[in-house]
């Protein structure tokens, strides 16, 4: 019975537990992501959102629990998963161009030693065009604005041609143009049957941008469709009693916590 439900889930992480120096960061967290949805992971700072993403990607080794991608262990399905890290996690003064960064998305398919060739570069150019950055292909990456850098990262994930896209705060510090472009891209991906899981900070936009939400604060508070789960009651549970009147669905409009 278990196996049959797994087969329809893009990601199924069960009982993920992760401690950092004896302090639990994730306690017994389940993550179930059906195929073809846009899911937000929401929770306060230190809730373990990025940790959860990194654990799913195998970048952190959990103390307990396992991750399955389309019913099989992550390590076997790596090719189906693309990762968009936080923009701040790399050195943007690195001597390289936007096109070169996007080409890095093809390295996984190339295997050892082989260098990217004409076909890899043309795929990268197409991915850049998909995020509206074709005119910036030869720009040194430090000369790009924050939003443009984010779009380059997205293009790098696109070129991987994956089934599942894991994004760590894709909307962090981007301009309005980029935000619109990313939202359009997410919808295109969904229309193509791809699955997107994004760590997200801005509570106001959860309802507009995503279909599903996982509320996280070290433990999983709740998860499911935005209509059912993104409620005042649940948000209060997630963010603790400290924050009053957060307002999810129920009083019309959610106010921005991160402000």
């Amino acid at each position: 019975m278990r196996l049959r439900t797994s087969a329809t889930l893009a990601i199924e992480a069960t009982d993920l537990t992760l401690a950092y120096q004896q302090r639990p960061v994730l306690w017994d967290v389940d993550l179930e992501v059906p195929q073809g949805v846009l899911m937000a992971i929401v929770g306060p700072n230190g809730a373990g959102k990025t940790t959860l993403l990194r654990a799913v990607l195998g970048l952190l080794k959990p103390a307990a629990g396992e991750v399955r991608v389309f019913g099989r262990p992550y390590a076997e399905q790596r090719r189906l998963v693309a990762y968009v890290p936080q923009r701040g996690s790399v050195d943007w003064d690195f001597p390289t161009t936007a096109l070169d960064i996007v080409t890095m998305g093809t390295y996984g398919g190339l295997g050892w030693v082989r260098r990217p060739g004409v076909s890899e570069r043309s795929r990268a150019t197409a991915a850049l065009a998909q995020v509206g950055m074709q005119d910036y292909a030869d720009r040194q990456i430090s000369q790009l604005s924050g939003g443009q850098q984010q779009r380059v990262f997205l293009a790098r994930a696109l070129v991987q041609d994956a089934q599942i896209y894991l994004m760590d705060e894709p909307f962090q510090g981007v301009d309005a143009t980029t935000e619109r472009a990313i939202v359009d891209l997410l919808r295109t991906l969904r229309a193509d049957g791809k699955t997107v899981v994004a760590v997200h900070h801005d509570l106001q936009t959860v309802v507009d941008y995503f279909d599903q939400v996982t509320l996280l604060n070290v433990r999983r508070i709740d998860a499911g469709s935005v209509e059912d789960v993104f409620t005042d009651e649940n948000l209060r549970l997630t963010y603790g009693g400290r924050v009053a009147g957060i307002g999810g669905r129920g009083n019309g409009r959610a106010s921005d916590l991160s402000a």
């Binding site: 009982d15 537990t17 004896q22 302090r23 639990p24 306690w27 017994d28 307990a64 396992e66 433990r219």
Partner: protein
Amino acid sequence: MSAAQVDVLLVALVVAAACAIPGAFLILRGMAMMSDAISHTVLLGIVLAFFIVADLNSPILILGAALVGLLTVALVEAVSRTGLVREDTAIGLVFPALFSIAVILISSLAGNVHLDSDAVLLGEIAFAPFNRFAPGGVDLGPIALWVMGAILIVNLSCTALFFKELKLTTFDPALAAALGFSPALVHYGLMGVVSVTAVGAFDAVGSILVVALMIGPPATARLLTDRLPHMLGLGVLIGAAAAAGGYWLARLLDANIAGSMATVVGIAFVLVLLLAPHRGLVATARRQRRQRWTFARQMLLIHLATHEGTPSEADESRPDHMQRHMRWPAAFANRVVQTATERDLITLENDQLRLTPQGRVEARTAALR
């Protein structure tokens, strides 16, 4: 022990104590490698000052060294502020350049004076007793002892006088600036002290081993305490102990004294790293083994609490499920279940683990930790 040996030991003790004090602040400010840079470049100050006064025993040499020490700091800052290279690269560019100039200048003097780059890099504390301080023919002991004693007193009194400022600018530069204590002023003051200490000490132990005495003892002390005054005190004690131990080792092996001192500093660090009472690796490993059981028990309780009352409860609460999902070996899982049962946290009925009321409370407190 002969009188000369006592002199050597005394000089070693004073050098170690004088180095440990500014070293503690360098470590806490994340600037330990500046001690390496400054201890190399003060050589340039000595050479330039020597060109002016033509006397190797002039106190002007120390002044010159201190000035070039500050110049090193300023150059590193200027280069990294261009934004064209990072700070570590800036350090790696500035000090070899200044040091190279010094080495070339010294070799151009070759033969004329007793100042060669080997001696500066390696030091020779064994010669310290032969250079006496004898004003008016009265022998008052080795000059090195007087010089380093004076530097030790300066370091101690600077630390005592400006303790509040040093502490504040080290831990919260923004607050310090807001309160009117200039972090830049304290920074350059500290760097001046580091430079003077380096030039005084490298006569005895050589410029690279100054680094061992500045960084090693306070770093070892850091493993033992969280409090700044304790770190300073322990640093001085450990430094003195390493100096004495190094001297003893050098006599035992008939080897270079400064090198032996640095070696003992390294041994002391490794011993403390392994054996420190609370944070030592051995103590940590022991504690982790104990905590593994506690942690596993809590995981079991939280797992049961999470699935309590859900449709999948029957499936999730079977004992063999724990083995599969937490990747626990059977023996380990049995023992976790057993201890949890013994503590009245869970019960086992019909192949189902169930939380007791007490277990439910503990699951909640563990999850909220």
